[in-house]
Amino acid sequence: MPAITPLDPAFLSRLETLRLAARRIQWGARLGGRFPINRRGSSVEFADYAQYAPGDDIRSIDWNLYARLDRLFVKLYKEEIELSVEVVIDATASMGLPTREKFARATHLGLCLAYIGLAGRHQVRLSWMRPGGLSATSWCTRRVAFDRLERFTQDVVPGGQVTMGEWARRAVAALRMHGGQVMWLSDCLTPPAEFFRAMHLLMIKRLEIRVIQVLSPEELQPAHLFRGGVLVDSETGRTHELNYHPDELARAVGEHNEQLDRFCKRNGILFVQHRLDEPLETFLLKTLTARGVLE
């Protein structure tokens, strides 16, 4: 298995224009950070004017405006917070199939999100969902720590089976996840019940969840992938002689993904699908921006 190729510095520099989008301030986000949000706060970044009301701090009255309009307005400023960004990469056996590019793309995507987080001066951590002990990096807050994250990804190889709900239960406790954002990068080829259970556990911890499903085009059209024979589940080892019409196979995959998407929408979770035939840069700069993950 080849190592994950390092990201191009020129490409990374283009990512610096992006920022992680936070929909709401959750409990656990620390105020006084460097991430301005559209909430009137005490930062130096101007946000808007408001009609003066008794009780407002008279230091915030804009006297120049009073001189021109003969009315009192107070200046409002944006609130700045510091986010905890947990990037979780699925490293189970299914991520290594049907091509090895799938896991590499998920890792690259996680590194890009981590870099965007570091560029936004958030604290970022990478963790991998795989069997055995929990593996995660320490929290990184400075951009210089990105090299360390990149080196850490070189040794991770997809393999084994782990139940998504069980891993989330252990991770929430062991990694002390609370508040902030979770970027969940997975193919989501897990039983829906386990997926729901994991999401619930994360929501209980007031985490803002973004699920990015990484799939190859062949997985969306399985008839091109399954050329007959006995199918072997890469994680469970279960076998089955698949003798169905290609349309039935594509419909089954679509229904599975739609079920997950419906659950995410119902619970305010961003669910974005990333196909391997879509360039990584396009996905970051356009798709994730349009879907509100980045801004």
Binding site: A93, S94, M95, L97, P98, D187, L189, T190, P191, E219, P222, L225, F226, R227, G228, G229, V230, L231, V232, D233, S234, E235, T236, R238, T239, H240, E241, L242, N243, Y244, E248, L249, A252, V253, E255, H256, N257
Partner: protein
């Protein structure tokens, strides 16, 4: 193309086998997929039988290979516009070997043909036919220059005579239609009337040659049947048994030495000088009791052809006059008793002749205890019987009872015929005999051959004896009436000397004639040829015949129960005559002009199909190995 070719149809059965193998391999193949989770709902349903064959590129390549193989077995041909087809007839007769210190005509003809092949258009096709023996060298018109050059390089002249017209007919049969052009490479002069499509390249030139043109065994029949009844045999050679005829085929005098190598005896040699175009019969005196092969050689200063300078005659073989003590079987068949009576009285005078009468009304009457073998000499006055007799025969022309007697003087002998060596004692005879019934020989029923003895009667030339020899069988037509003057000495001399010529029938095999080796048991027979080649034949048992006698020399046959050797000689006056030749080519009157439908050419596609199949197999191997690398 034979669409119903059994092999092709049988091969098509391999396609279902390929499909079954692919389905079997597909059902046994395990594919690791990321997860079966999305298909949980489908997994609960019972799997149905697959109705669609799942294949990849390798399957289609393998299927293409099988179809190409089936197509190749059907031997398809591409029918297109005809390329120019040239029928090449190369003369491989013995005369093509003739040379005096320079390249032979065959060598020059071969070089010319190689040059033509090198210059021909790529699509021009050629059919090569050798004229002696007539053999098509190509089974079909060929355009491949390499194959044509190889065929020409392996070609060599034979020791038999050739016939260009016959080669032309065989060549046309190979082409399947009238060829666009005919190229003849020969040493014969160009024919007088040749089609414009026929190109004759003649490489012959007048070369001096001396050849042995015949040999006879001349045993004395009986002492009284000689010239002067003094007991002295003809030509003054008391022990002469072999008459060798040599001829000088040149325009200059040729001194020659004729030698005979006799087994267990001293060699016999004669020296003489032949005038231009002279034919001479040389009696070779051999000691009595000789048995075995006698090798006769002719040596001259200037001689173009070597193959006709040697002759091997086997003495004391089985036969009617192989030895001096053996008897000559004669069958007499005549409707007229007076003829039988006169001839019988003559035959009784010779103790070596065992004769009997064969008549339809009277049963054969053996007079000397001998039966009538198939190779007996027939003496008859019935033309039909003489014509159907399988071996040597003498026909006595029938005369009407009222024929006038004429005085015949100045007997004339055709010196060019071998029989003249027997008739020479009759040069000047004056007698009164019954002349032939008609002066024109052609009008005589049953008469065949050329006149060899004439007489002058009332200032006109009257033929008396006709002689012919064809494929070793001699025939004499006796035009004189033996009953008219039964006691005439010249008449009996002519009769007995003609009988001697008939009895001295050739005792050797010439090239082109089949060899008979007697009884050979069933099995594999090994034949050693004079050119060193060895052939094997499956023989069902019985008399073994070998017909490919296109070389002079010894042929040895080994087969149970023994090994047998036979010698083949070259005696062919026409081939030996390198001075005056005539063309054997004649236009085929049955040849029809080529129609457009016939002009279409048929190009076999088997080679191309096999090449395409090979390419597909290589591509398949490359794809398979590439796939294997990716999987590892």
């Amino acid at each position: 193309m034979h669409l119903l070719s059994p092999l092709a149809l049988a091969w098509l059965c391999s396609i279902p086998a390929l499909i079954w193998l692919w389905r079997y391999a597909t059902s046994r193949r395990q594919i690791r997929i990321p997860s079966l989770v999305p298909f949980e709902r489908l997994l609960r349903r019972a799997p149905t039988h697959r109705t669609r064959l799942l294949v990849n590129w390798l399957f289609w390549l393998q299927l293409a290979c099988l179809l190409l193989a089936a197509l190749a077995l059907a031997e398809p041909v591409l029918v297109g516009h005809s390329a120019r087809t040239t029928l090449v007839i190369i003369d491989t007769s013995a005369s093509m070997q003739a040379s005096v210190g320079g390249p032979s005509a065959f060598g020059r003809a071969k070089q010319e043909l190689l040059t033509r092949i090198a210059r021909k258009e790529p699509h021009e096709r050629m059919v090569l036919v050798a004229s002696a023996p007539v053999t098509p060298l190509t089974r079909e018109p060929l355009s491949d220059e390499v194959q044509l050059r190889g065929l020409v390089q392996r070609l060599s002249p034979s020791d038999v005579g050739g016939n260009l017209a016959l080669a032309g007919r065989i060549g046309r049969a190979v082409v399947g239609r009238e060829p666009d052009a005919i190229l003849i490479l020969t040493d014969e002069p160009p024919p007088l009337h040749a089609d414009s499509a026929v190109e004759v390249r003649s490489f012959g030139s007048a070369l001096p040659n001396v050849a042995i043109v015949g040999a006879d065994l001349s045993d004395p029949l009986c002492v009284p049947a000689t010239a002067s009844e003094t007991g002295e045999p003809p030509n003054g050679h008391p022990s002469a048994r072999l008459l060798v005829t040599v001829q000088n085929f040149s325009d200059e005098e040729q001194p020659l030495r004729l030698s005979a190598r006799v087994p267990d005896a001293q060699d016999v040699a004669h020296t003489l000088t032949l005038l231009p175009q002279q034919r001479e019969t040389i009696p070779v005196s051999l000691p009595g009791g000789i048995e075995g092969p006698v090798t006769i050689r002719v040596e001259t200063a200037r001689d173009a052809l070597a193959v006709d300078n040697q002759l091997i005659v086997s003495l004391a073989r089985e036969g009617r006059s192989g030895g001096a003590g053996q008897q000559i079987p004669v069958v007499l068949a005549s409707e007229r008793p007076e003829v039988s009576q006169v001839i019988g009285r003559w035959l009784d005078a010779c103790p070596r002749i065992a004769w009997h009468v064969m008549d339809a009304t009277n049963p054969p009457t053996p007079r000397s205890g001998a039966d009538a073998p198939a190779d007996s000499i027939l003496i008859t006055d019935q033309a039909e019987l003489a014509a159907s007799w399988p071996s040597t025969s003498m026909m006595i022309a029938q005369h009407s009872s009222g024929s006038p007697r004429l005085t015949l003087t100045h007997w004339l002998i055709d010196s060019s015929h071998p029989i003249t060596s027997y008739l020479e004692p009759l040069e000047s005879v004056v007698t009164a005999l019954a002349p032939p019934p008609q002066s024109s020989v052609g009008g005589l029923v049953g008469a065949s051959g050329e006149p060899v003895l004439w007489a002058v009667s009332e200032d006109r030339k009257v033929p008396l004896v006709l002689a012919s020899e064809r494929q070793g069988t001699r025939r004499v037509t006796f035009l004189l009436d033996p009953t008219a003057t039964p006691n005439s000495v010249p008449l009996t001399l002519v009769f007995f000397n003609s009988l001697r010529w008939l009895a001295g029938s050739r005792r050797f095999t010439v090239t082109g004639e089949p060899l008979t080796f007697g009884f050979v048991e069933p099995g594999r027979v090994r034949i050693e040829r004079p050119d060193g080649a060895v052939e094997w034949r499956d023989h069902p048992g019985g008399i073994f015949r070998y017909e490919a006698t296109d070389r002079t020399g010894r042929y040895r046959v080994e087969g149970p129960p023994r090994a047998i050797e036979r010698t083949v000689n070259f005696v062919h006056p026409i081939e030996s005559n390198t001075m005056t030749r005539s063309s054997t080519w004649s236009a085929d009157p049955s040849a029809e002009p080529t129609t457009d439908a016939e002009a279409s050419a048929r190009y076999p596609m088997v080679h191309w199909l096999l090449r395409l199949m090979l390419i597909i197999l290589v591509v398949e191997w490359w794809l398979y190995s590439r796939k294997g690398r990716h999987e590892t």
